[in-house]
Symmetry: C2
Subunit: 109 residues, 2 copies
């Protein structure tokens, strides 16, 4: 259904705080042009554009040209990989499971 270009590791793409903030901004609106996104940051347009390219390579962002501006939109689905990954480790901090382990250890004695 969805073709993964996936040139870039999703874990890598979300490692940068600027990129996470871009994702957050794009979650709040349908489509945002580059210049409007740039206005939210201290850094220059070129830097923001580079971050968006990285997000694009990870499949987290789509873009389309409208007139002279390039509008970006979020595609969150690659984040599912993160969710699956972290879900596996959730058992290691779940208090329920800690209590379960305690019970099991008690029974073993």
């Amino acid at each position: 259904m969805s073709e993964d270009h996936q040139l870039r590791d999703v874990f890598d793409a979300i490692a940068d705080p600027t990129r996470r903030r871009l994702i957050h901004l794009l979650a709040e609106a349908e489509e945002i042009p580059l210049h409007e996104l740039t206005a939210q940051f201290q850094m220059g347009r070129t830097a923001v554009s580079k971050h968006l390219t990285i997000l694009k390579e990870a499949g987290l962002v789509l873009d389309r040209k409208v007139g002279r501006e390039t509008r970006f939109r979020l595609n969150a689905s690659p984040l599912r990989e993160i969710q699956d990954w972290v879900a596996f480790y959730s058992k290691f901090w779940s208090t329920n499971l800690l209590r379960l382990n305690q019970l099991l250890e008690e029974e073993e004695e």
Copy 2:
């Protein structure tokens, strides 16, 4: 309860595939000494040790010296930040919610 040194961003710590594999290895055993972890990789001991230091700075790993070896153990709880973060965006790929949005849009008309 848990004091966060948190010198290092957890998102940053899990960005590297070697470090994710270290986390995975440590999830399968109570405690593993450095030399044993190193044996699982192509790279040298120094490199593995550096990755473990980064994981330590993110609070994802604890170490203790036993004799001449340094043993590492997993502390997964900082991964909760990742889980919370990604959970927020799960609504953007949930098919149920996509259908809900469609229904809401239809009602607005």
